[in-house]
Symmetry: D2
C-alpha cells in the first residue's frame, strides 16, 4: 500500500494532475470505477458472479485495480491510511454485530458496516 500511494503521488506530480485531484473529484472518479465493476455483474446471477470466465475475471481485476488506485489516492489527499481506517471500522462492527445475534441474517445488518 505504501508503495502504491508513493507511486500515485509521483504519477500525478509528473503529469501536473494534482490540480484535478480534489477529494470531491476523486470521490466522483471512485463512483465511475465502481460502476465499471458493477457493469460486469449487473445481468449475471449471483452464482454466475462467483464463477467468472477467465476473460471477465481479468477485466474485473483491472477495475478492482482502478478502484484501489482512486481509493488510495483519495485517502492520501486527506491524510488517511485506508487499511488502518478499514481495520478500525471492522473493530467497531465487531462490537455492533455480535456473532450470535447476527448469524445468517439477510437483513441490512448483513454487511460489515452497520
Amino acid at each position: 500500500m505504501e508503495e502504491l500511494i508513493k507511486k500515485l503521488r509521483e504519477f500525478a506530480a509528473e503529469r501536473d494532475w494534482e490540480q484535478f485531484h480534489s477529494p470531491k473529484n476523486l470521490s466522483m472518479a471512485l463512483a465511475v470505477e465502481v460502476a465499471e465493476i458493477i457493469e460486469h455483474f449487473q445481468w449475471l446471477t449471483e452464482d454466475q458472479s462467483r464463477n467468472l470466465d477467465p476473460e471477465t475475471l481479468r477485466r474485473v481485476r483491472e477495475e478492482i485495480g482502478d478502484v484501489q488506485i482512486y481509493l488510495a489516492r483519495l485517502a492520501d489527499q486527506l491524510g488517511i491510511s485506508p487499511i488502518e481506517a478499514g481495520l478500525e471500522k471492522l473493530e467497531i462492527n465487531r462490537k455492533k454485530y455480535p456473532p450470535d445475534k447476527a448469524r445468517g441474517k439477510a437483513t441490512k445488518s448483513t454487511n460489515f458496516d452497520r
Copy 2:
C-alpha cells in the same frame, strides 16, 4: 492488507454471512459505501473538500474504511490482490499517458485509468 483480508474472512464466517457475499452483492455494497463518501462532498466546492472540518474528516475516514473493507472482501472472493491489481494497472497507465503528452490536461485522460 493481509491482516484485513484475514479478519474479514473470520468476521463473515462467524456470522454465517458468506452466503450473502457473492461478487454481485459485494459490488452493490461497494456502490452504497462510495455514495456515503460522495454524500459528504456533493454540495462542497473543491476547495472546501480539501479543507474538511475534523468531524467531517472523521466521518469520511469511516466511509473510506468501509469502501476498503468491501473492496478487499470482493477481491478476496475472486482470488485477487487489490494492491497488486492497483500496481499493475498503474504500470499500464504509465505507458498510456507519457508525462509530456498528458501534462495538465483536464480531459477524460486526467485520471489514472484511461
Copy 3:
C-alpha cells in the same frame, strides 16, 4: 413531468439553492440517491427484489421519487427533457438490437442502452 420541473424550480428559488445546483453537483446527488435504492436490494435475491414487503416498497418508492427529482432537475439545468431523451435513446437501441438477434441473451447487450 412539466409540473415536477416547474415545482423544482420554485423550490430551489425559494431556498436560494440554485447556487448549489450545478450539473456537476446534481450528478453526485443522483449517485447518492441511486445508492439508497441499491441499499434496499443489495442482500436480497432477485426473486426477493420482485416481491418486496409493503414497508420496503414504500421506502423504495420514496427513493425512486428522489432519483426522479434529481434527474429532472439536472436535465432542466442543461435544457434537456428527460422523457424525450429517453424516447430518442430507445429508438437508437431498437435499431442496435433487433429482436431476433438479441432474444434472451444475458450479455452486456441485455439492457436498453448498448
Copy 4:
C-alpha cells in the same frame, strides 16, 4: 412518461429480456448509467459543468435518456409511477425545509430530499 413505459415493456418483451429485469438488476443498471453521466463531469469545475460544449451536451443527453429509461423500467416493475413518487416526495420536503430556515445553506439539507 406513459408512452416511454409502454415502449419499454414492448422492447423487453420482444427481446425476452424480462427475465433479466428484476428490480435488483435494474438498480445496478441505474448505477452504471448514472456513472456515465458523472464521467463527463468528474474533472470539470462546477462552472465548466454549467457550460458544456455541444458535443459533450449531446452525450450527456444520451446518458440522461438512459437513466430515465432504467428509472421508468424499475418503477414499472414495482408498480410505481416515478413522476407521482417525485411529486409526493417534493411535498414532504417542502414541509421539512421551510424556505426561511433553509435559505442558502450549503449543508446536507441543501438538496431536495432530506
